[in-house]
C-alpha cells in the first residue's frame, strides 16, 4: 500500500533527510552561537560546525574547503558568479556565453547585465536532446569573452551537458567557466578539477537539505578566480558574501553533502531502476508518448515525457494525489509552455503535453507502480475526451488543419 499524496517532483525540491535534521537540531538550541564571534565558546562551536560543513561540501565536488563560499541558495550563487565575474573582469572584456535552457537565475542575471550595458550575451542553442554542442561554444568565443556559464544538468529534462569538454575549451582560451550544478551535485559524480569548473553553484534543498542555503565554489588556484561581491557588509566569507552565517542551514547542507557522497553509487543504481521501471511502464501501456531530453546522458531520477493529445495541466489535475510538474502553458504564470522543452524543438502541442517526473531518495517501487497506473489510466480517459486524439485517429494530419484562435 502506498501513502498518498505521492511526492515525485524531486527536481523542484526534496524533503529534508531525517539524518540532516538531526545534525541541525543542536544548532538551533544549545549551540546557537554566531560563527563570527571570536571570543567565546559559543562562537567557536559555531565556527567549528561551519568548518566541518565546508569540508563536507568541498569533498563532494573535489574542492578545497576554503574555496567554498556559503550563500542563501543557488539563485544567489548564480547571481554572484555571473555579475561578480563580469564586474571584476570588466577591463578584460564584456562578453558572456550561456545557453538557452539555463535556469532563470542564470538567464535573468545575464539579461540584467545586458540591460545595464555591462555585457553582451550569446545564448547557445541546444540539440533535440537539450545538449549544447562544444563546437558552437568554440565558435561563439571572442577575445572579449570573460565568462562561460553552462549548467551541469538541466532541471526540466535532466540532460547532462558535456561539461568536461566545455571546461577544457574554457581553460584553453583562458575564460572563466561557471557551472550551475544544482541538479547534478549529489546525483552524479562532479569534480571541479576533472570537469575544469572555475565557479560552481549548488543548493541544499535539492539534495535533501534545508531551503535557503547553498554555496558557490570559487577556484583558488590554476587560475585563481576573482569576483566582485554583490552583498556588502561585515566581510564574511573572505569578503565575497557578507552576512551572519546561517549556521543551522550550513550544518544541514554539509550533512546532506556527506550523505550524498557516501550513498551516491548505491542510490543512483536504485533511482535508475525506479526511473527505468516508470519509463518502461508508461511506454508499454500507452502509444504516442515521447521522451524529452537525452536518452542516456540524463539524471538518474529524471523522466520528462509528452503525452500526445493530452494537455499537461488537465493531466496533473487528474492525478492530483501525485505531485509532479508540467511544461504546459496553463500551469505557468505567463501562459507560455516551457522554454526548455521548446528549445529542444519539440512541437508546441507536445510542449503543452509534457510532464516531468522527479524520482528521489524516498520514492519506492510501489509508488512507481501506483504512479504508472494512475497516469496511464488518466491519459486514456483524457484522450477519449480529446478532439485531437479523435482527429488523429481519423487520419487527419493536425499540422495541415487551419486553426482558428484569437
Amino acid at each position: 500500500m502506498v501513502k498518498l499524496p505521492i511526492y515525485m517532483d524531486n527536481h523542484a525540491t526534496t524533503p529534508v533527510d531525517p539524518r540532516v535534521i538531526e545534525a541541525m537540531l543542536p544548532y538551533f538550541t544549545e549551540k546557537f552561537g554566531n560563527a563570527a564571534s571570536r571570543n567565546h565558546s559559543f562562537g567557536w562551536e559555531a565556527e567549528e560546525a561551519v568548518d566541518r560543513a565546508r569540508n563536507q561540501i568541498a569533498a563532494l565536488i573535489g574542492a578545497k574547503s576554503k574555496e567554498i563560499i556559503i550563500t542563501s541558495g543557488a539563485t544567489e550563487s548564480d547571481n554572484l558568479a555571473i555579475k561578480g565575474v563580469v564586474e571584476f573582469y570588466k577591463d578584460k572584456g564584456n562578453h558572456v556565453i550561456t545557453c538557452v535552457t539555463e535556469h532563470k537565475a542564470v538567464l535573468d542575471s545575464c539579461r540584467a547585465l545586458e540591460r545595464t550595458g555591462k555585457a553582451t550575451v550569446t545564448y547557445l542553442p541546444v540539440d533535440k536532446y537539450g545538449m549544447v554542442d562544444p563546437d558552437d561554444l568554440r565558435n561563439a568565443i571572442t577575445d572579449k569573452t570573460v565568462l562561460i556559464t553552462i549548467m551541469y544538468a538541466n532541471n526540466e529534462v535532466g540532460t547532462i551537458h558535456p561539461i568536461a569538454e566545455i571546461g577544457r575549451i574554457a581553460k584553453e582560451k583562458g575564460i572563466v567557466f561557471h557551472c550551475d550544478a544544482v541538479q547534478a551535485v549529489g546525483k552524479v559524480p562532479v569534480n571541479v578539477d576533472r570537469d575544469g569548473i572555475d565557479l560552481l553553484s549548488l543548493s541544499a534543498h535539492k539534495i535533501y537539505g534545508p531551503k535557503g542555503v547553498g554555496a558557490i565554489y570559487v577556484r583558488s588556484k590554476g587560475p585563481r578566480v576573482r569576483l566582485t561581491p554583490q552583498m556588502d557588509g561585515g566581510g564574511h566569507e573572505r569578503g565575497m558574501r557578507s552576512g551572519t552565517l546561517n549556521v543551522t542551514g550550513i550544518v544541514g547542507l554539509g550533512k546532506a553533502c556527506e550523505i550524498a557522497g557516501a550513498e551516491m553509487e548505491e542510490e543512483n543504481r536504485r533511482l535508475l531502476d525506479l526511473r527505468n521501471k516508470l519509463q518502461a511502464g508508461i511506454f508499454e501501456r500507452l502509444d504516442e508518448v515521447y521522451l524529452n531530453g537525452h536518452p542516456t546522458a540524463r539524471l538518474p531520477g529524471n523522466l520528462n515525457v509528452s503525452f500526445a493529445y493530452v494537455e499537461g495541466e488537465s493531466l496533473l489535475m487528474g492525478i492530483s494525489d501525485i505531485a509532479v510538474s508540467s511544461g504546459s502553458a496553463c500551469t505557468s504564470a505567463t501562459l507560455e509552455p516551457s522554454y526548455v522543452i521548446r528549445a529542444l524543438g519539440v512541437d508546441e502541442e507536445l510542449a503543452h503535453s509534457s510532464i516531468r517526473f522527479g524520482v528521489g531518495r524516498f520514492n519506492t517501487g510501489d509508488e512507481v507502480d501506483f504512479v504508472t497506473d494512475r497516469v496511464t489510466r488518466e491519459v486514456k480517459r483524457l484522450r477519449e475526451m480529446s478532439p485531437l486524439y479523435e482527429m488523429a485517429r481519423e487520419g487527419i494530419d493536425l499540422k495541415t488543419v487551419q486553426w482558428k484562435s484569437e
Binding site: Y309, V310, E311, G312, E313, S314, M317, G318, S328, A329, C330, A333, L335, P337, D347, E348, E349, H352, E384, M385, S386, P387, L388, Y389, E390, M391, I396, L398, V401, Q402, W403, K404, S405, E406
Partner: protein
C-alpha cells in the same frame, strides 16, 4: 492554484463527452483554439431546423481542467435553448458558474466562441444552396 469544486466536479464527471455520428443531420460543429496554444475545443450542437431549438450537445476538449469544465458546463447550458438565446451567452456566465480565477477566463472565452462557431456552422448548412451535400461535420476549424 486550487480548483473550485464545480470545476473539479465537471472535470471528474464531464457531461456529454463525444461526437455525433458522421453525416448526422442538423448538427453544427465549432472547433476553436489551436494545439500550439494548448487548447482546442470541439462543440457540436444538434439543432431542430423547424424551431431553432438546441436539442442535444456534445463536446471534446484538449485543454486544462477549466477548459474541460467550461465546455462540459456549456453543453448543459445550451440544451433546450433557442439558437438566438445561445448566441447571446457570455463567457462571464461560465466564469460565474464555475468560479474561474482570472487566469482561467480565456478558457471560458473559448467556450463562448465554441457555441458561436457551432451555431454559425449549423446556419451555414441551413442555407438551401449548400444543404444536403455538406451536412458532414466540418473537419477543419471554423473560419468564422
Amino acid at each position: 492554484m486550487a480548483y473550485s469544486e464545480k470545476v473539479i466536479e465537471h472535470y471528474t464527471n464531464p457531461r456529454n463527452v463525444g461526437s455525433f455520428a458522421k453525416g448526422e443531420d442538423n448538427v453544427g460543429t465549432g472547433i476553436v483554439g489551436a494545439p500550439e496554444c494548448g487548447d482546442v475545443m470541439k462543440l457540436q450542437l444538434k439543432i431542430n431546423p423547424a424551431n431553432g431549438v438546441i436539442e442535444d450537445a456534445k463536446f471534446k476538449t484538449f485543454g486544462c481542467g477549466s477548459a474541460i469544465a467550461s465546455s462540459s458546463y456549456v453543453t448543459e447550458l445550451v440544451k433546450g435553448k433557442h439558437v438566438d438565446e445561445a448566441m447571446a451567452i457570455k463567457n462571464t456566465a461560465i466564469v460565474q458558474e464555475l468560479n474561474l480565477p482570472p487566469v482561467k477566463i480565456h478558457c471560458s472565452v473559448l467556450a463562448e466562441d465554441a457555441i458561436k462557431a457551432a451555431i454559425t456552422d449549423w446556419r451555414k448548412h441551413q442555407e438551401p444552396a449548400v444543404e444536403s451535400a455538406d451536412a458532414v461535420p466540418a473537419r477543419t476549424a471554423q473560419e468564422g
